[in-house]
């Protein structure tokens, strides 16, 4: 799980072009949206595409995003349980 968390942090930084952020800056339990990293709705779309492309997970209901993208911990658990590739 720790490896997956690190992998997700690196992917988020790359996909969302967070130039000033390194994986160590993202706390596992910190909120990704709003406070924390301060991501927005366009970032949410980017992350949904990321899950589909890299892990074969389709998030069909955007409302699920609130739970899935709550934090790195939540995201890593969701990916570990649902990934198809």
């Amino acid at each position: 799980m720790e490896l997956l968390k690190e992998e997700l942090k690196n992917k988020i930084i790359e996909v969302l072009n967070l130039e000033e952020v390194v994986p160590g800056d993202i706390a596992d339990d910190a909120p990704l949206f709003g406070e924390g990293l301060g991501l927005d709705s366009i970032d949410a779309l980017e992350l949904i595409v990321l899950l589909d492309k890299d892990y074969g997970i389709k998030v069909t209901d955007p409302k699920d995003g609130k739970v899935i993208f709550k934090s790195i911990n939540a995201l890593a658990s969701f990916v570990a349980e649902n990934k198809t590739k």
Partner: protein, 344 residues
């Protein structure tokens, strides 16, 4: 009709034009076929959170426009008008490449949103919270002049008291390669075509002069296709419309770029040979669709400061007062434009 004044201007180019200097340290690069823009420290102007989705063109335009607005004292202009030949081509390529690489699946929104040509004007407006008239012109090598024409009309027809107008273009390695393949850009310094570059030039135009005013814009005109034989009458006709003869022009700013279409510029220079100094500038900036925004920045500063940078003087000339300035540009025999400036 209201007169139109250039009250502020800023340029980002292959020279250090953003530091407030006036080409004192300019260098002519005769080796490279692409001259990248010397970019400001973006972090000093745009937060990393805001800039992470912005391409080079957007960032250059936002910073050049911020500098021009700051100089003019205008916080939110009545209108924002942008000219760009190739638009946000970095993100256009990214988006198209993603379509191909991923077999038309997994398309993400960011590069698509950022790939549209009017992203530049939109991002400037978002940053300023400006809800006024916002228009983008994409007309090849007269993209900036088209934007300028609209800006002038907005002020002349009293639709706006002040307008932020500018031109911007960025280059990518692939787009440069395509330009080289069709012979428009030099592949090496000995081949045909022109040296390519990129940059941004933004201005605040207004109906009232201020202490910072550079010059008045009398007019701009565009013509798509002209033969060399037709050029003199195109120029003299434009001047006569403003009750001027070639002998009353003090300075011509010509867009020679070293390609085979420079004959047009030679013809224009011949028209003014006994009266005006002709300066060329693309040996400093290279060629790009909106390079005439740099020409306007250059001509404006020359009029305001009554000084021609040493590096641009064709020979050691002592010039008279510079009152009337004509900017002439064309690209590959097409997209001819004339801009007439007057000292205030």
């Amino acid at each position: 009709m209201s007169k139109v004044y250039i009250n502020a201007g800023a340029a980002i180019s292959a020279q250090a034009t953003f530091d407030g200097g006036f080409l004192e340290n300019a260098v002519i690069n005769r080796q490279d076929v692409f001259l990248p823009a010397i970019e400001p420290d973006y972090k000093a102007f745009i937060s990393p959170v805001a800039s992470r989705r912005m391409s080079k063109a957007v960032k250059m335009a936002i910073i050049a426009s911020a500098q021009a607005l700051n100089e003019s004292g205008v916080s939110v202009p009545d209108a924002i008008i942008t000219g760009t030949g190739a638009g946000c081509i970095i993100d256009s390529e990214k988006f198209l490449k993603a379509i191909i690489d991923n077999d038309e699946q997994f398309l993400t929104p960011t590069s698509f949103i950022q790939s549209t040509h009017n992203t530049v004007g939109a991002q400037i407006a978002l940053g300023l919270n400006c809800k006024g008239y916002n228009f983008t012109y994409v007309n090849g090598a007269v993209s900036f002049e088209s934007a300028l024409l609209d800006a002038i009309m907005q002020i002349e027809l009293q639709q706006a008291n002040n307008v932020l107008v500018g031109g911007v273009d960025e280059m990518t390695p692939y787009f440069l390669e395509l330009q080289q393949m069709i012979g428009h850009a030099k592949s090496d310094i000995a081949t045909v075509g022109s040296v390519q570059s990129e940059g941004a030039g933004f201005f605040v135009l207004a109906n009232t002069p201020t202490e910072s005013t550079y010059a008045a814009i009398e007019d701009v005109t565009l013509y798509n296709k002209l033969s060399i034989a037709e050029l003199p009458s195109f120029i003299t006709g434009f001047l006569r419309k403003h009750h001027l003869e070639p002998s009353q022009i003090d300075l011509v700013v010509a867009g020679n770029n070293g390609d085979v279409f420079d004959d047009y510029y030679d013809k224009a220079a011949h028209l003014f040979r006994n009266y005006a100094i002709t300066v060329q500038y693309k040996q400093l900036t290279g060629e790009y669709f909106t390079v005439s925004a740099f020409a306007l920045w250059l001509a404006s500063r020359i009029i305001k400061e009554q000084h021609i940078p040493e590096i641009l003087k064709p020979h050691a000339v002592k010039h008279k007062a510079i009152k009337n300035v004509l900017i002439y540009n064309q690209y590959r025999g097409l997209d001819h434009s004339l801009i007439l400036l007057k000292r205030v």
